[in-house]
């Protein structure tokens, strides 16, 4: 079994998901890592360079992280090569001449096991493969993106005001999300201070992103991000089925809501019936103490 892992970097560091994929690939057999070097991701230059690599090395399996870019690149690569494709899987095993995959479907409402014939392209959800101990830094070969394939022109990057200093939501081990119960964007410092105390990322319900209180990229749920952190804290979120779809696989769920009948309590490991404005500052202090 020969696997080619497509490496991704955030800043100068390999993304955690790349280390996860490398560990999985080593378990499956022969492993090589390739990173596509280009100023920024764009499908045609990246897929052209990667397809050439795949055609020359003929790996049985191409693994990518199910990140924003990894999912896009994987889909187009599979189409170009006519290979079988599965996106955002949470587990994989070899079964004879094929792969057996754990594939969440229906926005996480169903867990399927599927068989995918090799050769294949698969993207794997960040955090799905446990990393045991400190992962060794893998060898990564760099290939150049094929700029001659580009048909698009990059115009600009329009940054959102909130910036990017925190860990990315889909890879975070702790996520603190705020809902409409926070009443307005001016109160988000409560969510952020708790997230900082926990070393986590900030998320939101769709009610919040729709209202423009927070950017879309922070939305958790069926039409937002799916997160599987060790700890998910829902503040002032009612627990609509579409929100749950994005976070019920979290290891531990904490919910704070002033309505004792809120649906979120049905899935929370720890529920606190309280006013977020009173409870959250106290909790942030308690977390700082407990971690000190």
């Amino acid at each position: 079994m020969k696997t080619l892992v497509v490496a991704e970097r955030k800043g100068s560091e390999l993304r955690r998901v790349t280390l996860e994929l490398a560990a999985k690939a080593r378990e499956l057999g022969d492993t090589a890592l390739v990173e596509i070097a280009g100023e920024r991701y764009s499908p045609l230059p990246f897929v052209s360079a990667l397809a050439k690599k795949v055609e020359s090395e003929k790996p049985d399996l191409v693994l990518l992280g199910a990140t924003l870019n990894g999912r896009d690149l994987g889909a187009r690569l599979a189409a170009r090569l006519g290979r079988a494709y599965a996106a955002d899987v949470t587990g994989l095993r070899v079964a004879g001449n094929a792969l057996e995959l754990d594939k969440p479907m229906y926005a996480g409402k169903v867990r399927a096991k599927v068989r995918l014939d090799l050769p294949a392209v698969v993207s794997v959800r960040p955090g799905a493969i446990p990393l045991k101990g400190a992962a060794e830094a893998p060898q990564v070969e760099k290939i150049e993106a094929d700029g001659s394939a580009e048909k698009l022109t990059f115009v600009k990057l329009a940054a959102t005001a909130t910036g990017t200093k925190r860990v990315s939501l889909s890879e975070a081990r702790v996520v603190v999300s705020g809902g409409r119960g926070l009443k307005g964007p001016e109160n988000w410092h409560l969510v952020e201070e708790l997230a900082d105390a926990l070393g986590g990322a900030v998320g939101a319900s769709r009610a919040v992103t729709d209202a423009g209180w927070r950017p879309n990229e922070e939305q958790v749920g069926q039409t937002g991000k799916t997160v599987t952190p060790d700890l998910y804290v829902a503040l002032g979120i009612s627990g609509a089925i579409q929100h749950l779809a994005g976070m019920t696989s979290s290891k531990v769920i904490v919910a704070v809501n002033k309505d004792p009948d809120a649906d979120i309590f049905k899935i929370a490991d720890y529920g606190i019936v309280a006013d977020v404005f009173e409870f959250v500052p106290a909790f942030t202090e308690a977390v700082k103490k407990a971690r000190a």
């Binding site: 189409a79 170009r80 940054a159 019920t248 529920g271 309280a274």
Partner: protein, 255 residues
């Protein structure tokens, strides 16, 4: 400008999806179906273009079972101009993309907007695959399209902001969200939609083989049920906060 939206009919987002007794499919009896949420955003995005420039023509197409006609009807009621149905009970994802490529060749849209992923298989394959078959560039997960001299600007949501890409026409993008919430069908819209013809063709009649690389579903199960856990309620906010922090550190071991 002519905009084509390939859409997929999926179980409505409020449906509590249940695994069927065969263990490899879901119960479809009696459930309600809708346009996949991201496709709905794509429709809204296209209709916002049409609001700004009434010469815009918005067409929708789907490859699916006969019931998919309802999803097309809903799109017409929202304000789309044309709809067509390609019937196929099952088709491999690449076969769907081939059928859509044929529709694009025949109808020559300037812009194709797909959903970023369909909320049944959650794959996000058909959009990029369609662009690949057409030999077009594509931009994934956009939230805005702006017509400019010589093409369109496509705003792609990334960590920390938006990348703005300019694409020559024809172009394809997959949609993450529209600026406004998808509109509800208006009453006159519903009346008009009822009268519109939805031409139908079988996939095989297009000369397309429904096979292609795909997976076999071995089993399906619901995610493990999470029971409600503890409600912490003894004491004031400060005391409960301390109990919670201690429990997270010592019991759940996540701090």
């Amino acid at each position: 400008m002519k905009i084509l939206i390939p859409l997929k009919q999926v179980p409505d987002s409020t449906v509590r999806v249940k695994v069927a007794p065969d263990g490899t499919s879901i119960v479809t009896e009696g459930i309600s179906w809708s346009i996949s949420p991201y496709d709905e955003y794509a429709i809204e995005m296209a209709l916002e273009r049409k609001d700004a420039d009434p010469t815009t023509v918005v067409a929708v197409v789907t490859v699916g079972a006969a019931r998919s006609r309802d999803a097309l009807r809903q799109a017409l009621a929202m304000g789309c101009d044309e709809a067509s149905l390609i019937t196929a009970d099952t088709a491999a994802p690449l076969a769907v993309a081939r059928a859509l490529a044929k529709v694009v060749d025949e109808t020559k849209p300037d812009l194709v907007l797909c959903g970023k992923q369909a909320s049944d298989d959650d794959q996000g394959f058909v959009g990029p695959a369609l662009a690949e078959l057409l030999g077009w560039a594509h931009v994934a997960t956009i939230t805005k399209v702006v017509p400019v001299e010589g093409g369109v600007e496509l705003w792609r949501e990334v960590e920390g902001g938006h990348e703005v890409w300019k694409a020559p026409l024809p172009a394809l993008a997959t949609v993450h969200k529209s600026e406004k919430e998808p509109r509800y069908p208006s009453l006159p819209g519903i009346m008009k939609a009822k009268k519109k013809e939805i031409p139908e063709k079988a996939l095989s009649a297009l000369g397309i083989d429904a096979s292609g690389p795909t997976w076999t579903i071995l089993s399906m199960e619901p995610p493990p049920v999470r029971g409600g856990g503890k409600i912490l309620k003894d004491g004031d906010a400060k005391q409960i906060a301390e109990q919670l922090a201690t429990a997270l550190r010592d019991e759940a071991k996540v701090l």
